[in-house]
Each structure stands twice: as C-alpha cells, then as structure tokens.
Amino acid sequence: MLLEAGRDILSGASKGNSALLHTGFDAPDGSLELACMQRGYREYLEIHEHLNLPLLKSGAVVVAWNEQELEQLHVIISKAHGNGVTDVRQIDGNALRRNEPGLSTNALAGVCVPGESIIDPWSAPLAYAHQGIAHGGSVVRSCEVLSGNFDGVWHLQTTQGPIGCDRVINAAGNFGDHVEAINRPPPFTVTPRKGQFVVFDKPASRLLNAIILPVPTERTKGIVICRTAFGNVLVGPTAEDQQDRRAAEVDQASLKNLITRGIEILPGLADVDVTALYAGLRPATQFKDYQIEAQAERNWITVAGIRSTGLTSALGIAEHVAGLYAEHFGPLDDAQPIWTPVANLCEQAPRAYQSEKGTEIICHCESVTRGEIEAACEGPLPAVDIGGLKRRTRAMMGRCQGFYCSAQVMALTHGKINP
C-alpha cells in the first residue's frame, strides 16, 4: 500500500524537475546516488517502450564560456570516464557551433555527453504506479501519516484512520525527516532546495538540439537549457534553500535572471514567448548522498535525501530498496512484470489528436483531445484535482494557460475533478 499525503501522486517534490534522464557522468564517484542513477538509467532504457514512455536521445553538451571553465573541461571528462560513461569527449568551438547553431558565439568549447536524454517527468512515475497497482498494490491519496508505533508490526495513525502493516518504507520526500521521526530521531534534516524554471513556447525548440549544461559548481549543476518531451524549451533551475516545505513560489527577479541567462546562451530565445513558469522543491539534506538504509529490527527502510536526480534514479533506487528488503525481510516474489502502458503526451510519437478518428481537440495550445481528458479521470489512479489532470493530459498548460479551454475542461470533468 502506497500512502500519499497529497491529493495526488507527484504533487510534492516530483512535480517540478528538469525532466532529464542522466547518465551519471558528473555524479560523485562511489556514491549511492551514482549507482542508483546508472541502474535507473539502464532499466529505463529497457522498459520505456513497454510502458509507452518517451525517450528523446538528445545528448547533452557542457559548455565552457570562459577560460576558467575551459580548464575544467578535462576534469569533467576524466570524472565521466571514471564513472564509466566512456563516450564523453571534448569538442572544440567549431564543432560546438556546427552541432548547435543557435548557441551564442561566446561559447568556447564543450564536452559532449551523448547518453543524456529527455523524458516525460509525470508519465514515467504514473506508469510505475499503474504497474504497482496491476501487481496487487494500492495507492491511497490524501492520506498523511501522523504518527505510529511499533510492537513487531507497525500501527500508523493517518488522516484516513489507523493503518497496520508489517513494514514501512519512508519515501516521504520533503517530509522525509518528519516521517522518520516516527521511527527514530531523524539523522538528517530536510531543507527544501527550490528550483525555479521558465518554459518557452514551442517555436524555441528549433533553437537547440542537445541539452545545454553549464560547467557545474560545488553547490549546483547550474542553469540548464533543454527541449522538453512536449516540444517546449526549459530554462532552469535556480537553487535556493528555504524552510517552507509545501509552497514553491516563483519570483519575478529570479525568473528575469533565468530569461536573461537563457538569452545569453541561446540568443534566439529573445523572440519567443514564455509559456509557463514553475518551481519545484528538492528534498535536500545536510548530506550530499542519498540517505537510504534499512533498520531491520524496526521493520523500516528509509529512502530520503533524493535531490535533483530522483527521476533518473527512481528505478535504480527501487532495485536497491528491493535488495535491502530481501536481505532483511526475506525474498520478494519474482513476478513476471505486467506492462501498463500510459497515454503518450510527447511530440516524438503520434498524439491522440493525430491518431484518433472522430476526436475533438479541447485544449488547442497543447492539442489535448476530449478522449484524453475523459481517460485521465478514469482508470486505477484517476486525476482528482486540477494539477493531476494537467500532469496527466497537459490540458491548460500551454501558451494561453486556460484562456480558451479551462471552462470547458472543468465542465467535462465536473464531479470528478475538485478544483
């Protein structure tokens, strides 16, 4: 049983990220994070077609903008090779401009990371949840765990009443330390790190091919520019520590900085409209690495401190946690996977409006059909709020932000979606 405090899955830390599938070329060597990322990366490649999940093999390029950064490039390459990402190589300014004609001419040179890819940040976890349900699991939403006690089994008090279980896996994201406190004095504190993003309208996607990365600093991977699986262009994130664990606000000054930086890197962005804004909260702790461990005698597994790489490593973390579980609590059934493909929302494959006959487009900016909106309100894990509906369909997420379709979407989903 999966308990989620939010009204829907993906309504916390996981709703706002940069939607990239990382190779781990720049992850700390020997870290659990690196191991999980690389296992997750491999598994995503193996299963994405079964679940109808997109994979845009764009590659990435780390761009040096000054002499200091230029000197860092060989460090990035040897680190990548050390991490087993052996196809990473340096390219000179000419090659860079050939590959990325839209890039500012101030770019000096770059490091190519061919394996970095773009995925859909919401469909992937949704597909995993559907698969979990198909295998007999259940998802309870709006169910906040308040307290619990352990007497050989766990008795949890939740906002939906008491729930008993043999074992608990704490994967509570930005509330990981609060939930951990049910089991023990938490050895870590979550300090959410906010990342703000600006989404540019679809014409911007012609301006670049690869994911454009900066030379990273100690603190953050820096501002990324990339296409999205939905055909837009993303600029972000910022990295700001904050205390509030729920409200991820955008602020105009930061957004303007992101846009300015975006235009410096990709001058053509100056002529493209902003479509959307968002901010996500990364569950950072005082430790750089993931905080994943089992307390066998307490029937408890902690999965915390998953910062910005969680989308990539999710499947790897799952494998690692399954290993911990088997080690301490006995083997898990090795069932044949049931595949639960999700609806395609991405521009690389035919969308519903292109493949369904007799369909009616409701959201014109994102070309979302009536059938897609109706389907999102059905099934084992239907959308129950606006955010969930938007993440499942992309309706109202385009350039007009619901000017044309929000009233009709709400009429269509009346009684199912609670604003």
């Binding site: 009204r7 989404v199 309208d201 679809k202 014409p203 729920r246 409200a247 991820a248 606000e249 955008v250 602020d251 105009q252 957004l255 303007k256 846009i259 002529d271 493209v272 409209d273 902003v274 479509t275 959307a276 804004l277 968002y278 901010a279 409006y353 292109q354 006959k357 007799g358 369909t359 009616e360 487009i361 014109h364 900016c365 070309s367 709020d385 606006i386 350039r399 007009c400 932000q401 619901g402 000017f403 044309y404 929000s406 009233a407 009709q408 709400m410 009429a411 604003p419």
Partner: protein, 315 residues
C-alpha cells in the same frame, strides 16, 4: 486536397464579416474554419451589452452580435470543430477535425484568428501557482458558456477596457470583486471608467501597485503587493488577469510568414497582405487591440482587398 477561392481561418467578427462581404461581392467558394464548435468568436461569451450599434444599428449583447454575424453568412461555408495545424506556401492549410487530417487549398487565405489575453505566466508574476488564477476570457466562458462562477471574491488585475468587461461579467453573476489592481499610476481605460468602477460597481481601484505575489497552495488565498510603496495583502479566491491582448499567432510563428516583433502579428501591407501574397490578415490577429466592431470593419475591408486581387489575377 480541397480547393477554394478563399479560406478564412477564424469565425469571429473579422472572419465572419469578411465572409459576408465576399458574398456581397460575388465570391461564394469560401470556407470558414474555426476550432470552436460555435461560430462568433469572443463576443459569444461577452454576455453584456455594447455591441452592434455602428454595425447593425441597434444595441446588442455579445452573443446577439455573434448571432447576427452568423446570420449574415451562408452557414454551409462554416467548418467548425476544425483546427488548423500548418500554413504552407501558396495557400495550403493543413487542418484536422472529426474526420482526421486533410489539406485545404485556397487561392487566398484570410487569417483572422483573433487575440487573447496575456496570462499570469507570461507576465512573470511571482508567487505560488494555485487554481483560481485566470484571464477574463476563461472567466467569461465559465459564466456565459457554462453557467458557472469559478470564484466569489476575485481580484481584477488591470484596468483596460476589457477589465470593465470583467466587472460586467462578474456583476452578471452577482459578484463584487475585492478590488481592481493597476500597476500604473492611472487606469488604462479612459479616465471616467475609474469612477464607473468605484461608483457604478462599488469596486475600489488601486493604482501604483507593484511586486504582485500570489499566495495559496491548492486554491488562491490572497495577493500580496506593494501599493504606493507600502506592503499590502488582500484575501481573495480568484485573481483575474485582464487585458494585455496579444495576437493568437502560434500558427504563424511556426509558419513561413513573417512576424512583426512589436505586434507579434503577421507583417502586412496596406492591403492586408502578408509576406506570402496568398495570405491576408485582419482583425485582432493583425494588430491588437481592436473592438469587435473595429474587427468587423477590418474584415470587410480585407474582403474587398481579396476580391480585387482575385479579380486582377483572373484577367
């Protein structure tokens, strides 16, 4: 591929008046494509009055005006529920509808897709992103097309003419906004409108507002801002961003047609021709922000330009 003398994209005031004028000039091989299922454009959901006096000689509501526009054309020309996907050189337009995708070819294509308001995101407004933040267009569709009131205590952002349309829409469902918020030191619409808002609607008008910040997690709860240098916070359950009308030009930005970076509409000459002579543009798509009546007039003029061109090419 289906061939026509003229394809009109957009069944709003500009497109419909162009069709009526083309008919008057003897051009009837015309198809009017609109993605909505009802023709009429924006006036369909402006339930208040203020339309029609100059065009049809009587005071009308938006929906009455929209109906009159439709009554003036041959409804067989309407191709509703069809979305234009792509504009190609020389007048080929890819569309999709209930029967799937196909291509229309027009000797001339008139672009009349209208305009929309700039939403919160493109205005880079700070704060959270809860439900309840919308534009006038969305509000009017809730109220007039679906009979719903999406909020009870909204704030209205902006003081353009369309902002007063927002006040009228809210009054129609018995809602008095908490306040009207304007960033500039005076309202954008003509000055007496401020007194209409204050006295006629009983709505406080706050000018010189800056640093807007939206608060609330699931549903909007308040707006924090600076008012004449002082911090202020107003509780509300809706925030309606009004005005800053811009062309609905997404189809153009992905086409071969040249865009005017200032208006964000297509570049046109004095005869409404775009950079590809097969394409014409009129109404709010060409330059904002015009009233429905002005769009109606421009559609008519553009139709005459198209007629003249078609006749010249025939000789």
């Amino acid at each position: 591929m289906t061939r026509h003398d003229v394809i009109i994209l957009g069944a709003g005031p500009a497109g419909l008046s162009a069709a009526a004028e083309l008919h008057r000039l003897g051009i009837d091989d015309v198809v009017i494509v609109d993605r909505e299922h009802t023709a009429g454009g924006i006036p369909r959901h402006c339930g208040h009055g203020g339309y029609g006096l100059l065009q049809f000689g009587r005071w009308m509501s938006g929906p009455e005006f929209a109906k009159q526009l439709v009554d003036n054309i041959n409804v067989d020309q309407l191709k509703l529920g069809h979305t234009a996907l792509k504009l190609e050189a020389n007048g080929s337009v890819q569309i999709t509808g209930p029967a799937g995708a196909h291509t229309l070819h027009g000797r001339k294509v008139l672009l009349a897709m209208g305009a929309r308001e700039t939403p919160r995101s493109a205005r880079l407004v700070s704060g959270t992103r809860p439900w309840g933040v919308m534009t006038t267009g969305a509000l009017q569709q809730f109220v007039y097309l679906h009979g719903k009131t999406p909020c009870q205590r909204p704030l209205v952002i902006g003081s353009e003419l369309v902002s007063f349309s927002t006040l009228l829409t809210l009054r129609h469902v018995g809602i008095k906004p908490v306040a009207m918020i304007e960033e500039h030191s005076r309202i954008s619409a003509w000055r007496p409108a401020e007194w209409i808002a204050r006295l006629g609607f009983g709505v406080p008008v706050l000018t010189d507002c800056s640093d807007l910040r939206i608060l609330g997690i699931d549903r909007v709860e308040a707006l924090a801002f600076h008012h004449r240098g002082k911090r202020k916070q107003l509780e509300c359950d809706g925030i309606i961003f009004t005005g800053r009308i811009r062309p609905e030009s997404a189809l153009l930005t992905q086409s071969h047609l040249q865009i005017d970076p200032h208006t964000q509409g297509p570049i046109t000459d004095a005869l409404f021709r775009c950079s590809d002579p097969a394409y014409f543009a009129c109404g709010n798509l060409r330059t904002g922000v015009k009233t429905a009546g002005q769009c109606w007039r421009e559609g008519k003029t553009a139709a005459r330009a198209i007629h003249a061109k078609l006749k010249a090419e025939h000789v």
